[in-house]
Symmetry: C2
Subunit: 492 residues, 2 copies
Amino acid sequence: MKLKIKNLNWLAGRPVVFLNEETAKEMNVFANDRVAISNDKKIYAVVDIFPQIVKRNEIGLSKELTKALQMRNNSLVEVTTSEISNATALIGKKMRGGELTKEELNYLISEIVHNNITEAEIAYFTSAEKLQGMTMGEVVNLTKAMIKTGARLNFEGKYIADKHCIGGVAGNRTTPLVISICAVAGLTLPKTSSKAITSAAGTADVVETISNIEFPLKKIKKIVEENGACLVWGGSLGLAPADDKIIRVERLMNFDIEPQLLASIMSKKISVGSKYLIIDIPYGEGSKIDSLIKAKRLGRKFTHIAHKFKLKIKVVYTDGSEPIGNGVGPNLEMLDLLLILRNSPEAPKDLRKKALFLSSELMKLCGIKNSKEKAEEILNSGKAYQKFKEIINAQNGINNFDEKVSSLKFAKFKKTIVSSRTGKITQISNKGINSLCRILGTPETKTAGVYLHKHTGKITKGEKMITLYSESKSKLKEAKQFLKEFKPIKLK
Amino acid sequence: MKLKIKNLNWLAGRPVVFLNEETAKEMNVFANDRVAISNDKKIYAVVDIFPQIVKRNEIGLSKELTKALQMRNNSLVEVTTSEISNATALIGKKMRGGELTKEELNYLISEIVHNNITEAEIAYFTSAEKLQGMTMGEVVNLTKAMIKTGARLNFEGKYIADKHCIGGVAGNRTTPLVISICAVAGLTLPKTSSKAITSAAGTADVVETISNIEFPLKKIKKIVEENGACLVWGGSLGLAPADDKIIRVERLMNFDIEPQLLASIMSKKISVGSKYLIIDIPYGEGSKIDSLIKAKRLGRKFTHIAHKFKLKIKVVYTDGSEPIGNGVGPNLEMLDLLLILRNSPEAPKDLRKKALFLSSELMKLCGIKNSKEKAEEILNSGKAYQKFKEIINAQNGINNFDEKVSSLKFAKFKKTIVSSRTGKITQISNKGINSLCRILGTPETKTAGVYLHKHTGKITKGEKMITLYSESKSKLKEAKQFLKEFKPIKLK
């Protein structure tokens, strides 16, 4: 059926068209059905029924389709009812347990990038990845396909390096420290980070408390070239854009899909030009991966892929059984970082130690000798602090670091819980602490979160255990209730 | 964040909200992300960005959400960023291979009916059903949950009966024949049928060539009570509405998901009050199920579920290796049916035979003696034809059967292909014939399709093999090309 195009400036996040009820009836399609739009090639879209916006025989296009079709308002286009696209056949192959070839993965990823398949199909694809698995060959080709369809960065430096933690540990904000230390040591670190999905805060949320984090690629290149590093948000850069779309679908389910996780991390590191990479896999009860055996199994896969791309890699396996650092939540974590960078005696020792370890390992990977001592010297001397300031000032485009830092606040309402007896904290649940912070308002509310006065170990009656921070009295009350009911801190 | 409600009369087929770009940015959500809207209970929706329609701090609701929330324009509602709903946790359980309890399936199906989960999540659910499987207990509970959330019909008659074919065979339009014959024999047959998804025509498409097929439930009840049967479209009746939503997602992938197929068919039969049921499972190369062993495995599952619902069931296994009947396409199939009902010598024998077999089996199941002879007598005597007329006239609300029949036309353009040599037709592919018909314009174009002059067996040079019908010259050309390239008819 020929329909008249109406380009609408509306971002649906997937290819959607609006039809009028009569047109839909004539075509025998329903809301959420799929149609094929034939221009030079066939483009698939799902149908919404919205009579106020389109008249009979008109088709309203979402921004994604306007871009893909490049047709003028009122021009006619052939629209036919749902058919199976080639991409769907490939997803079907994976659903049946087949192995996808390089060409097939290239095609599929390109269709995802160009919004030619629906999110339900992406769900089928990732579900098949999870339940049928992928060979290492497929993961490598998936990684390649995701790099190929995205933007890239290139740097001149000798040691283009990066770090990545697979996450799951509350607090644990090592990135700004590792980046600052290693940049002083002469490494080039184009670091992109994510915002929190289910946790209390992501690195990008924390850096954002005092800094701009969103830049075009050109600007990022400039910041890194001038300062040796950056600490930016990776979300809107268009590095491996297929991955961004896939993540939005899989995050609905709150589980990791291993082949996708591997390809996602590796493609983004390679896209920014990294040649040296340290991967941190925390393991233990209460973290994403519960045993060292499983952690190592995953680590070997990272190593395998890295070698295929001629990347030098070091995988480290760290204790992920409880939160690291004292503050959890954007501002609270930033305050922890500043204490460490300033070598304050109040700085959380576990976070400092882990950051030094990761920095030293990454420096060692780049061939720097006595890396342990060097990392400590860089931090102790205040050079790392100086570098961190420099990066933040560069990102803000003005030397307002001190001003930004002095405006860091705690939330209006707080409540400190003390230990009801002398005994031992046997466990602090990462998931429990993250949920607690989300209830208190993180990551949207930068000032919210918790401060852990104690980690696992001895505690005496009346000693401070945890302080809750929130901008809302009712959220604070809810958090107290959660603490009582789900006991994220186990006391014996 | 509190947002101002704007109810929009727009049917998205899933719970969608419109946000303005600024609002989305403040909330840190992107197109296609999920938000939770808190009213009495939490309702989840996905985000579209549409600045023309909503201002800053406004939230535009799709029809589905307007209905679910029941809130006035300009009232304020709390909207928070994506969280994991309980339904998602249940889908996750199934993804990990867990068994869902009755209560869990009830909850999940109710969430689907109320549009509280996205189509991507439905994809994860059905994908897990396919790859992890379901126990028979789960399938029974799934069936129950789907019935519970839908509309139902009840009839007084002693023998409320139904037939169902799992499909996959081109032509094979037995339903109108079986319904007419069995209605004469005294059975009550509230028959609902579907439209074609990937085939050339569904029963509803064929009946629609001469009849109304869409009615409210009350009207269907009246038609059946007065005429003993109906031949209506089941799509808009709200019987097992969860299934309608699930089917729309799974149809994207073009494969059957067995637990869903079983629950889908059984829930719809039970919802219309059927007590006696015949299930036709065609098998053989080129049909949905390739061997008798697999067909019987599926048949046993139907029997198991039927017994749980105290339904009398008979499963028959029939030859599905090639098309049945000569015409394929809405009008062409209706013309075949009329030839059989009028006992014309040109009527396709295979279709007639199969319809008689199914009718006799269904009558026997209801305890009717000498059912084979009785079915033949009903058809031969013209009583079945009379009943068919009666049903169609009742559905049209006016005695216009003859008029409707005489207006049945063939498409404007046709092309007959004759055999290039004397030999044997060794195979006619169901899928190939269906694809050929779709190219020619079915099911949208009622007059399009093919006429098979021959089935498998001997053929002499110059004998007519197949005639193609289309309203479009270019489609006819495309079909000829398809015939040449993919050879759906194998000649040796």
